[in-house]
Symmetry: C3
Subunit: 296 residues, 3 copies
């Protein structure tokens, strides 16, 4: 069983589906069940959530589908995140802020479990690096919730190498979920992907399509990148989306890219990237277009 195996070593599907926009999809429960089934049929068995997505309401929409079709849960891995206190109508904070105190992490994890109608999450990430994180205390929270069977693995998202190292020293983290795309390449140079490789941990990658900007932005960088990618995609006979996922997947850290699309065709385009062998020249041609200059 996936959950049992995950307890020893985290394994996600090579493409992960992200649900941060599910509230905008306006799907009925049955449509959501169907969408999940189609994802599973494509081999997308890992689903990436966060407590705050859709103004704290996204998880529950997904959970309704799991409740309506109980057979689905056993075929998937559920990932969620917590640690952000986001202003919303019910939460009138003065400013958005982070909170990694035991109480809040526990509250949010248990809420995610209820939302998703499940007993356990395969993976929970601290969404953003909290300057006020007490690493030892947070590790204790991790250990307790793991002991209670509520969370199988823990990780972080958007953490620098030193932030990661600090928490990893107290509790073995499974991943760092980072942004990487043909339009956003900071992770190539800031050491986070090097660190992941050094630790043998596969990063998750958010926004491999730069949140859609890859297709729509008209700034110089996007125009350059799109032109280069269209040339490569045409030669390889694949879509721009497939190429973007192939570009991310080409990284030696063996990343898990997340697709945020509702369209089943979009999922299919992401999965198609698993069959693309992008050569170094094409990879660097896209890098070059993104930077606006050649490699040194």
């Amino acid at each position: 069983m996936t959950t049992a195996r995950a307890a020893s070593e985290l394994e996600l599907s090579p493409i992960v589906a992200g649900l941060w926009r599910i509230t905008e999809w306006n799907l009925s429960v049955q449509e959501r069940v169907r969408w999940i089934e189609q994802a599973l049929e494509l081999g997308i068995t890992s689903f990436d959530h966060a407590d705050i997505y859709g103004d704290y309401s996204a998880e529950a929409l997904f959970g309704e589908a799991l409740h309506a079709a109980p057979g689905l849960r056993g075929r998937m891995q559920l990932v969620s995140k917590c640690g952000i206190r986001l202003r919303s109508t019910q939460r009138t904070y003065r400013v958005n802020h982070y909170d990694t105190a035991a109480t809040y992490v526990r509250t949010q994890v248990e809420q995610s479990l209820r939302n998703l109608h499940t007993e356990q999450l395969e993976l929970v990430l601290i969404h953003r690096p909290d300057y006020l994180m007490d690493a030892a205390a947070l590790a204790e929270t991790f250990a307790t919730l793991t002991r209670e069977g509520k969370v199988a693995h823990w990780g972080v998202s958007n953490h620098s190498t030193s932030q990661f190292a600090l928490l990893h020293q107290h509790h073995a983290l499974a991943t760092n979920q980072l942004e990487l795309s043909p339009l956003q390449m900071d992770a190539l140079d800031d050491g986070t992907l090097d660190q992941a490789q050094q630790l043998g941990l596969r990063p998750m990658i958010w926004s491999p399509l730069a949140g859609g900007r890859l297709f729509s932005d008209e700034d110089e960088q996007a125009v350059r990148v799109r032109a280069e990618m269209e040339t490569v995609a045409a030669r390889l006979g694949i879509s721009l989306t497939t190429l973007a996922f192939a570009w991310v997947l080409r990284h030696p850290s063996r990343p898990y890219p997340i697709t945020g699309t509702r369209r089943v065709e979009g999922l299919r385009e992401a999965v198609a990237a698993l069959d693309v062998s992008l050569d170094a020249e094409d990879w660097y041609a896209i890098w070059t277009a993104s930077k606006g200059h050649g490699v040194p």
Copy 2:
């Protein structure tokens, strides 16, 4: 006895008094004795010096008071720094520069001992990272001066993570004294505070009031921060100074902030921060005001 305990593990008072401006205070010896007594009565038992403060004359002013009231020394921890060759009337260097060679460190430490009328300094810091530092040789200097009983602990100030790691590999350092304030937050992101936590070392913090700019600067950042802090301070019924210290103390590295004030009321306001429980929302509201944008 404090000194004996310090030999095994460095312990400073939760608020440290900094003497870098003592030469501007124009206090008689008896007034200095009285000032020290008042600090001690407030629980401020650690005093932060540097060889170069007050154009190399600050330590001696403090030392005169210790000489006049010999009972004081046993109730305090003395911290000093060396490693900068600062131009002055007696020192006509072409440029300010650093020197961490054995001869210079020894000379300056022994001068600090004489200035402060003491046999031992609880802690000596290398004031700035010296690009020409020979880490192995400097560690040998540390070890020799420790063996001679002249210095109990060694540390550094303003060192990057890699500079710290290099010297720490050769001699166990006790602290990195860093700048942190509501107006200067680089240490939150450059890894130095993460490193301190990973090593279990409590950082010292200089200029928690941004050298007074927090109260007086009229630039956009300072105006924003002051407005936010005045709101929080009013709600908590504390002064702006107390809030600034509470903001620094809230960091999980358990920092030792340094107050540089002559005013006993100022010392009291710093110490009052030890009783303030700043919540994460207020802490991040100040962060947000300082950055001019919310957390990501």
Copy 3:
């Protein structure tokens, strides 16, 4: 014999000669032999190459000299680099890019061996950090080529600390070849030189004269640095070139600076730096001129 000793521990001559411009020197084979002999007589026994220098033709020019005067090879250490696919007339890549796959590294190393008429290279460096590097696979390539006797030591060039650490974890690297000069001081602050010292590895330094810009550039920084260096050089009775090498050599990482000159007098000026004791004040005066402000 040098080669045998190098197999256990890499040792280069304190000044290294770089051949990246040899194709511009227009020397006959006998002139190249004479140039090498003069370098050796000056104690410059290490020669720095790369597969791509001179549009992939530099190594062969040097190799012709070794072939013509077979006694030379045993008196020197050969360094080369690979990993860049540079566009050229024979190589019509769409963009310059990197390639650290086993096939390409092997092909280039074996080509370097043929070009240089030698059985073994004392040191081969990965020329630039390849984002697509598979560290474990590359380490395996290193091990295989070492086992075959083709390369004694491996290193990298221009790698960040995390890039270095990743590969070093898989195969012990001998050096990181970095840029450092009075006009380019990034390596002082980016951690690479700290890392080298922490690992006890001596860095190689390229462009200690900033590629000649030190003498010719008219921008503000170069003018300031030249003025300061001329003052120091005049006082010490040395040339600007000697001073630049002395400035680099003063760094505690014990760097191996590379001279790229054809002129024997230029080699002599570089070697003369080994007898210069630059004091910290002069070193920092040059730093100050380069930065345009004093040390903090």
